[in-house]
């Protein structure tokens, strides 16, 4: 039964390559028209934060190289943190990482079929959102102390 389905899928996917253009499947990916229950919110934030992390990769490498290159440059990188603007940026980016991390762990848990009923999934969604904010707050405390 399972195997049959899979075989059909494989054939379909070959056919669908040719047919994809002709077939007009309905598709709604406009986020502003989608109702956002908490699981959907966690999911779309996982996607958004994943993209944000991708965009800042060169910045990350640049900062790492600068911070290693000499004591002066190291001091320069650390001094960046004296600016409120940079601090807030860093907090925002750190939140992006924390959220992507916790939501990613939630994904992995669900992939091994843990916490997959609707009520449990809602609970873990809240936990993911909460942990992301909590981790960011802790970083804020460290930055300002």
């Amino acid at each position: 039964m399972q195997n049959n389905n899979l075989d059909n899928n494989a054939q379909n996917s070959q056919k669908s390559k040719q047919q994809a253009a002709k077939r007009n499947r309905p598709k709604n990916l406009n986020l502003f028209t989608i109702r956002m229950p908490i699981n959907a919110l966690v999911s779309i934030l996982h996607r958004v934060t994943g993209c944000v992390l991708f965009v800042i990769l060169p910045l990350l490498l640049l900062l790492l190289q600068l911070s290693l290159s000499s004591a002066e440059h190291y001091a320069m990188v650390v001094n960046l943190l004296h600016s409120l603007f940079i601090k807030l940026m860093l907090l925002g980016l750190a939140w992006a990482f924390f959220h992507h991390f916790f939501a990613g762990i939630r994904h992995l848990a669900m992939d091994v079929h843990w916490m997959t009923t609707l009520m449990k999934a809602r609970f873990t969604s809240k936990a993911v959102l909460g942990l992301g904010v909590l981790a960011t707050l802790m970083l804020a405390i460290i930055l300002w102390s």
Binding site: G50, F54, L64, Q65, D111
Partner: protein, 124 residues
């Protein structure tokens, strides 16, 4: 059946699995990094160097970046599939994505394997 699912006939399953494996590698590295930062609390340049210089840490960092490259490629590719309907525009963006990830990987490899390990960093 599980093995069957990992053959070329089902590329989606491979992508799915790779996304998970790379996520796992990155998660482990992240926890290790956090643990080391809390333990060693590097607070000046010297400490930051000795944090970054152990060979096993640089190898772990490279493994992390290799995972990141694969993970980001699969992830951003999925996003493009959803939000860039025009096939030729999407093809172009995907090529750009691959080039960027290779450049970053080359840069990161050099940073971790050569630069962060070079002894004269300490002497300067």
């Amino acid at each position: 059946m599980v093995i069957e699912l990992l053959t070329k006939r089902y590329p989606g399953m491979r992508a799915w699995l790779m996304q998970r494996l790379t996520a796992l590698v990155m998660a482990i590295y992240s926890v290790m990094a956090l643990g080391r930062i809390l333990l060693e609390q590097p607070s000046d340049y010297e400490a930051w160097l000795s944090f970054s210089q152990p060979w096993w840490w640089r190898v772990a960092s490279l493994l992390f970046w290799i995972s990141l490259s694969i993970h980001a490629w699969l992830g951003i590719r999925d996003v493009f599939k959803d939000y860039v309907p025009n096939a030729s525009v999407r093809g172009l963006l995907l090529k750009l994505l691959v080039v960027m990830l290779w450049v970053y990987l080359a840069w990161a490899t050099w940073l971790f394997l050569a630069y962060a390990g070079s002894a004269d960093l300490v002497l300067r």
